[in-house]
């Protein structure tokens, strides 16, 4: 059974006095398997947030069916095994951080089983242990995002739905979230992760769902998309003589010398191995070998352009 299933889901909003039809999602069908991290990407207005709201029962689909672990998403019980982090944390500002966690646990019927140690542990995981008694209104947006992550962890949910969870966070916070999300995926949790930052998708997600104009553009492993953007390998070595540089050029490799190093670009894995052997025989050691890919964003845009044409 899939963790999340969208079957021919459409959403048409009615706007203005005359109720003009504004389609946000059109005949969307995709599924997210149990376990692993799935990225949910698309440009602004592609229908990501509307889809997530429908998944969480906040917005009602005009047609189609959404399921969470086989249960109809419009039924509140389907959310029992879910946790959600939104782009903007929506905590009650009169509560303290610890009270907010307890409140959330009570809503998920875990209140009685929750101990102070559980709350402290969750706060510690997100580096907020000193903020348990502080009011939400005293916490910065980044701190509230961390608290939202603590709440999601405390729910011990099997399915975690994140809508731009790292928006507005500082670099240490982003790094922490990436580590937590990666560990959730490694523990077999299902993470459905909407973001604009494709670098995050590239690093964290095994699968990706791409939306464009409210329609499904692509669903599947991220590998083939990255493969489309593959542009060879980059070997970096220290300084080498001009004679060696000429020799490398003669072998058909592109070079980019800098003050302290030389970067060598090769097209295939075979060439990378040959180049490495050549350097090794001359006692030149590689500082790094990097697989070069076009940014995911570039690949996705290209893909959309191809589809449109």
């Amino acid at each position: 059974m899939d963790a999340i299933t969208f079957s021919h889901v459409s959403k048409i909003y009615r706007k203005g006095f005359w109720g003009t039809r504004v389609p946000a999602v059109r005949d969307l069908s995709f599924s997210v398997a149990q376990g692993g991290i799935t990225g949910f990407v698309g440009p602004n207005g592609s229908g990501k947030t509307t889809s997530i709201k429908m998944l969480l029962g906040l917005v009602l689909p005009t047609s189609g069916r959404i399921e969470i672990s086989g249960a109809d998403a419009s039924n509140s019980k389907s959310r029992a095994g879910c946790a959600f982090i939104s782009e903007q944390p929506y905590f009650y500002r009169h509560l303290t951080a610890a009270e907010a966690l307890r409140f959330s646990a009570r809503l998920g019927n875990r209140g009685a089983a929750l101990s102070s140690a559980d709350v402290d542990r969750a706060l510690e995981t997100v580096d907020l242990v000193a903020c348990g008694k502080r009011k939400i209104k005293e916490l910065s947006k980044g701190m509230q995002q961390r608290l939202a992550m603590a709440q999601a962890l405390l729910a011990d949910a099997d399915i975690l739905i994140f809508d731009e969870p790292m928006s507005g966070m500082d670099p240490p916070g982003r790094a922490l979230f990436r580590t937590i999300i990666a560990s959730l995926g490694a523990r077999g949790k299902t993470v459905f992760f909407s973001t604009h930052v494709l670098d995050d998708v590239e690093q964290l997600c095994g699968n990706v769902v791409v939306l464009s104009g409210g329609r499904l553009e692509y669903q599947g492993p991220i590998g083939p998309i990255l493969e489309k953007g593959f542009s060879g390998f980059e070997l970096t070595v220290g300084r080498v003589s001009s004679e060696t540089q000429n020799d490398l050029r003669a072998r058909g490799y592109a070079l980019e010398p800098t003050d302290a190093a030389l970067r060598i670009f090769v097209a295939t894995e075979k060439q990378a191995a040959e180049c490495q052997r050549y350097l090794y025989e001359r006692d030149i050691f590689c500082i790094s070998i990097v697989r070069r890919s076009a940014p995911l964003e570039e690949v996705l845009y290209k893909k959309r352009g191809e589809t449109a044409s």
């Binding site: 909003y13 969480l56 959310r79 929506y90 959330s104 009570r106 809503l107």
Partner: protein
């Protein structure tokens, strides 16, 4: 049930920290104190003036609290989107509405008890008597407040905060003028639209049923079982408004 209780407790905490409750409480206390001096102007009916003024003040305070807090109860949740925190958990929308209502009602009931104690203390100190009719009047005003708050929640479940406030005030006024509508239907003087008038008459609760100030002031006996009947009447309307709120809120995109 746990979720409903959690929403209720959270609303109690939220409302207790709302300064409007204390402002209205102070306003009522100040008016009751003021009613003592109004009573002094009347040579023969000092206690009656205090009773009438005190009960009217408590009734108006119910309207004020419904408008200032009841209307904003859902509106503020929707504008600040804090309801996402609740509704993305395994909580139904009806649990949310009923939990919010019961939470607010708990604080208002506490507030109302404080007002009543102050009113009764003032009255007793000035030589008045706490009669069954007086206690019935207090109960009726409390039930009326519960009805107005439920109506305010119903209005805010499908429209903006400002419109909900206007509808709530109109509901209060129309509810108290309901008897007048029946008089007009009977007299046929203005009844150009008898169907409209009859619809209004039956659709709106008759809030005058909750007004037994005259019986208190003029020491008239209330019919037997009046208070329980009014309580049942009020509860029926509270249930109706909460069901309608849930139906309207269930269909709303958040």
């Amino acid at each position: 049930m746990n979720a409903l209780f959690a929403v209720m407790l959270n609303t109690i905490k939220e409302t207790i920290r709302n300064h409007v409750v204390y402002v209205v409480l102070l306003f009522v206390v100040a008016l009751i104190v003021l009613s003592v001096s109004f009573g002094d102007w009347s040579v023969f009916a000092r206690i009656q003036v205090i009773e009438d003024f005190g009960l009217a003040t408590m009734s108006i305070s119910g309207l004020l609290l419904a408008v200032f807090i009841g209307v904003g109860l859902l509106g503020s949740e929707m504008s600040s989107k804090t309801l996402y925190h609740v509704l993305t958990r395994p909580v139904t929308r009806y649990q949310f509405i009923v939990g919010k209502y019961l939470g607010l009602l708990s604080v208002l009931a506490l507030n109302y008890v404080v007002m009543t104690l102050f009113f009764v203390a003032t009255l007793t100190l000035l030589g008045g008597r706490v009669t069954t009719a007086l206690l019935s009047a207090v109960l009726c005003i409390g039930v009326e407040m519960a009805v107005i708050v439920s109506a305010a929640i119903f209005f805010s479940s499908f429209t903006s905060t400002v419109l909900s406030a206007m509808f709530s005030v109109a509901f209060y006024v129309a509810g108290h003028l309901n008897d007048l509508i029946s008089v007009q239907i009977a007299s046929q003087q203005w009844a150009m639209f008898p169907i409209v008038l009859k619809t209004l008459y039956y659709a709106l609760p008759n809030l005058e049923h909750f007004n037994v100030r005259d019986a208190v002031v003029y020491t008239m006996a209330l019919p037997d079982g009046y208070a329980p009947l009014v309580l049942a009447y009020g509860l029926a309307y509270v249930t109706l408004f909460l069901v309608l709120s849930c139906v309207a809120f269930n269909k709303k995109d958040l």
